[in-house]
């Protein structure tokens, strides 16, 4: 074995550390069985380095590799392409520890490590990931350094590696800022199409997609106590236009203008209220989330007549806004005639079976509310099933659902229930949003994930205003059919490895955590969400109107500047002269000037000898030459202190006097 790079044991420690940090970062996406394989490889490597074991048995080596491959193939059937590739990478990375025979192998290990760092960014772009990745890069650079400079002390290697890493930062930053962002060359199956959250319409089946996404939709922090779980209906969209199959938002003027003329706000001063702050993840959509009845004083947030909140611009990045909700305000609002008409509209010539059924049922009850209750009871008692994989529905979706399939999830129930209400002349609308959320007791915040997406109904009851009715909640628990998708939607935060949450009792650490949250917020805002639009804005701000020539010139100039910086740092440069060197230069100037006048200094001549030579040539300058030489001798040989800038100045003055006389 070529053990030249093994002289320093710390290189192995660094490799192992780098591996485990990488695995830790990908832990949530790594199957457990990779750990034993790499554990064996790394454990053996360590024992080998400390001299406890001999060379890895060839048979064992092949056996380990083959069984790892077999495991990979077996598990690959259940995984997507991406997961399999990541597993392969981590497995190969771990098993490579057996094969560290030559320098070349260490290079391979480092390259695989670097690729692993890049892979972690597929899963997370958070600040923590970035910082850990930076540490890993420094570690890998140190491994390379100790390969080429094995005699250097380990902390010097780390220092130098960190310096090299820091040197690449300007290049990284400017590439990030101005290099044209190319769209992804291939798409990942990691993130499905549902990451942008709710869509602005609802047809049977589309919420099921969301329910399989465990992405964070938004987080909420309450000023006071959190509201109970049953009350957590986060309204996002009101869909009040039905075409027989799909629910949509009413088109009134521009969709994002508030219907200011349609709502009259009563006096809010004495209303009980809930104050909270919502931190919404980017969705590239306009809608925001709030509890009924939500209002916001934020500039960028509009209150709509349907009592939802909308952002003035699509949420391109993580955005926070403050909300005040008035839970009891609903009953004090009025329903205009126009609104009533809107919320009673039913499509003609569709779902006639439902209409007929409602027409026969409605007269049996003396109030709207009682009728609504009877339908909920029907869902509860009749054979209605909750499933995320319902059968497909035909053109008359509500008829099909109510009378034949009887299987569906929230959007089916909400859709059917709302239509039935409308047929019964009760103003009703579908609400899309999120229900529930995961309350974090330690840090006091609520995380609402995409799998909390929900749809329900609001009906207008005179005297009570808009009343929320969740028909899905009335299905008998025995008839809830859980699906594969539902199991996959695991709570997310519980698995978070790098969480300061558990140290919340410590005020110092808690404030640190809050500060980190802020940094993370800015990170999301300025780095993660930096897209080509923002890039263009930045370039326009810098260059004015953009032409391709300007952009090319700017990029080239920037590259040239960075190149110069790196060149400067690399040591091929003029060092800033020390005062001593500047002092020497004054004397060198004399020699040069005199050489022009024909007095050549011999190489071995001391200042005094040279001075004599000059005096012989210029007897009239004897005083000046002597003065200059004496001063030079005094500074250079007599004084033990370092040369001061004043000395340099004085020497220059003496030299000038000398030159003037020539």
């Amino acid at each position: 074995m070529n053990s030249s790079w093994l002289v320093n044991r710390h290189i192995i420690v660094w490799m192992i550390t780098a591996y485990f940090i990488s695995v830790l970062m990908l832990l949530d996406y790594t199957p457990w069985w990779i750990l034993p394989f790499s554990g064996i490889a790394i454990g053996w490597r360590w024992l080998y380095v400390v001299g406890k074991v001999s060379v890895f048995n060839r048979l064992a080596h092949h056996g380990l590799t083959l069984s790892a491959v077999a495991m990979l193939i077996v598990t690959s059937l259940n995984n997507g392409m991406m997961e399999n590739m990541v597993n392969l990478l981590l497995l190969a990375y771990g098993l490579k520890f057996i094969e560290l025979r030559q320098k070349r192998d260490v290079l391979v290990l480092v390259i695989v490590g670097m690729i692993t760092i890049a892979v972690t960014f597929i899963y997370s772009e958070s600040l923590t990931t970035t910082l850990v990745a930076a540490v890993l890069v420094v570690l890998h650079l140190s491994i390379l350094l100790s390969l080429h400079a094995p005699k250097m002390r380990w902390h010097k290697q780390l220092q130098l590696a960190a310096k090299i890493g820091a040197l690449s930062l300007p290049l990284t930053a400017s590439l990030f800022l101005v290099m044209p962002q190319i769209g992804p060359l291939w798409s990942m199956s990691v993130a499905g199409g549902a990451t942008t959250g709710l869509s602005d319409n609802m047809s049977p089946g589309d919420i099921a997609q969301l329910r399989s996404s465990s992405k964070l939709a938004f987080s909420v922090t309450f000023d006071g106590e959190p509201i109970p779980k049953q009350q957590r209906y986060w309204r996002a969209l009101v869909l009040d236009k039905f075409d027989g199959r799909q629910w949509q938002q009413r088109e009134k003027r521009s969709r994002w203008l508030p219907y200011e003329d349609e709502v009259t706000w009563p006096d809010l001063s004495n209303e009980p209220s809930i104050k909270y702050r919502v931190i919404a993840k980017s969705s590239n959509q306009h809608w925001l989330f709030g509890l009924n009845v939500a209002t916001s004083a934020d500039n960028n947030v509009k209150s709509m007549a349907d009592l939802t909140l909308k952002s003035r611009s699509p949420l391109a990045s993580t955005t926070a806004y403050d909300v005040i909700s008035y839970p009891q305000l609903a009953s004090k609002l009025t329903l205009t005639a126009a609104q009533r008409v809107h919320n009673l509209l039913v499509p003609e010539h569709s779902n006639q079976q439902t209409k007929a059924w409602v027409d026969t049922q409605r007269p049996l009850f003396d109030s709207d509310l009682a009728f609504a209750q009877s339908i909920l009871q029907m869902f509860n008692e009749k054979s209605y099933f909750y499933t995320l994989e319902p059968p497909l529905l035909g053109a008359n979706s509500v008829d099909d659902f109510l009378f034949s399939t009887q299987r569906g999830f929230c959007s089916h129930y909400a859709s059917a229930f709302t239509l039935m209400m409308r047929y019964a002349k009760i103003p009703a609308r579908v609400i899309k949003g999120y229900q529930g959320g995961e309350w974090n007791e330690e840090v006091k915040y609520l995380n609402v994930y995409q799998y909390d997406a929900h749809a329900w109904t609001e009906i207008w009851i005179d005297g009570s205003g808009w009343v929320r009715i969740d028909p899905t909640a009335n299905i008998h628990p025995d008839r809830v059919i859980s699906s594969l998708d539902d199991q996959q939607a695991q709570p997310f935060l519980g698995g978070n490895t790098f969480s300061l949450v558990r140290y919340k009792q410590n005020p110092w650490l808690n404030s640190l955590r809050l500060a980190l949250a802020d940094v993370e917020f800015y990170w999301s805002r300025w780095v993660v969400e930096y897209n080509s639009d923002k890039q263009m804005q930045l370039l326009e701000m810098l260059l004015g109107k953009l032409t391709s020539l300007k952009v090319i010139l700017f990029t080239l100039t920037l590259m040239a500047v960075i190149g110069l910086m790196l060149w400067w740092q690399s040591g091929f440069r003029w060092q800033r002269p020390t005062t001593k060197e500047r002092f020497e230069r004054v004397y060198a100037a004399l020699i040069k000037q005199m050489a022009i006048h024909g007095v050549e200094r011999q190489r071995h001549q001391t200042p005094n000898q040279y001075c004599q030579l000059l005096i012989n040539k210029y007897p009239n300058l004897a005083i000046e030459i002597q003065a200059f030489t004496d001063f030079y001798n005094q500074i250079n040989y007599q004084e033990t202190t370092t040369v001061s800038p004043q000395d340099v100045k004085h020497a220059k003055r003496l030299l000038m006097q000398l030159f003037q006389k020539i």
Binding site: A588, Q602, Y637, Q638
Partner: protein, 300 residues
């Protein structure tokens, strides 16, 4: 010139005419605490110089004439059986004095030459298992004939390195020789001008002489040159480097300065380095130290 040294130089100059530079070099060597080798053909005044140096310092002085049949015991001393008390008693040889003038040292056999070695390096003598300390200060002033002259044994390199300086006198100029002939043949009385305490004070003063980095760098460049250039068969040793510095400081003191100039280094360089660079081989005609001096820039 330093007023403390000037009378010495003048006194010796009266005896050895026209050799002021060599006189100063010799003084410089002794003041720096080093041993001195005077080399030249017979009859140019080697012994005169050595003699007058010893007298001027007022130190105890022994002269040993080295011959080819001389034994170490002749130099160091012998233990003689005393009949009266039935014991061996040690009779100190001529080396037990502050200044030892080894005349024509290269006439002695290498065995005897090397007896000088321990004395010069350690300032002590070991005979019959007993170690005797030599009086301080201890100087060896040796003279030798050039090797071409018959009946000589070349000094080993190790011993050459122990001499701080080697001074060659050369023939006097016509004027000096004329003055010598005109001088009365009566030997001039040499006075003691410096006593032991004064010499000690001088040595301390020399120790205080400032050496700027520029000078040290110059010395290092000189030494480095001999090591990197293949022209120099015997590169300078670190002992030579130290000797260069010590001699430079001493020279600066003689010149009446309390700091060293490159001139000081240049002045002592041939005397300090020539015998070291050349080694025992005396074949090359051109002075190696001159060559070295001209190839190194004092300014860096």
């Amino acid at each position: 010139m330093n007023p403390a040294v000037k009378p010495l130089v003048e006194q010796i100059d009266r005896v050895l005419l026209g050799k002021q530079h060599q006189i100063k070099l010799s003084l410089c060597c002794l003041m720096a605490g080093g041993h001195l080798l005077i080399e030249d053909v017979p009859g140019v005044g080697k012994t005169t110089l050595a003699n007058s140096l010893a007298h001027g310092f007022g130190l105890t002085y022994q002269r040993v004439q080295f011959t080819s049949d001389m034994l170490p015991a002749d130099l160091l001393g012998v233990s003689i059986f005393n009949q009266d008390n039935h014991e061996f008693s040690f009779h100190k040889g001529p080396i037990f004095s502050q200044v030892v003038l080894g005349d024509e040292i290269n006439r002695a056999s290498p065995k005897t030459q090397s007896a000088l070695l321990e004395a010069m390096a350690e300032g002590q003598v070991s005979i019959d298992g007993d170690t005797y300390t030599l009086p301080q200060p201890f100087f060896v002033i040796a003279t030798q004939n050039p090797l071409e002259h018959s009946g000589t044994f070349e000094l080993p390199d190790s011993q050459l390195d122990r001499f701080l300086m080697r001074v060659t006198l050369g023939y006097p100029s016509v004027d000096a020789e004329k003055a010598m002939l005109l001088q009365s043949t009566q030997t001039l009385a040499l006075q003691q001008l410096i006593n032991g305490d004064e010499l000690l004070a001088i040595k301390q003063e020399i120790e205080q002489v400032k050496v700027a980095d520029a000078v040290i760098d110059y010395i290092l460049r000189i030494v480095g040159k001999t090591r990197s250039d293949s022209n120099y068969a015997h590169p300078l040793s670190p002992r030579a480097t130290r000797s260069l510095l010590a001699a430079s400081k001493s020279w600066a003191f003689i010149e009446g300065r309390d700091y060293v100039l490159p001139e000081d280094v240049q002045a002592i360089l041939p005397a300090v380095c020539e015998h070291r660079l050349r080694g025992s081989s005396q074949t090359q005609a051109q002075s190696l130290s001159e060559q070295l001096l001209h190839s190194v820039d004092p300014l860096g």
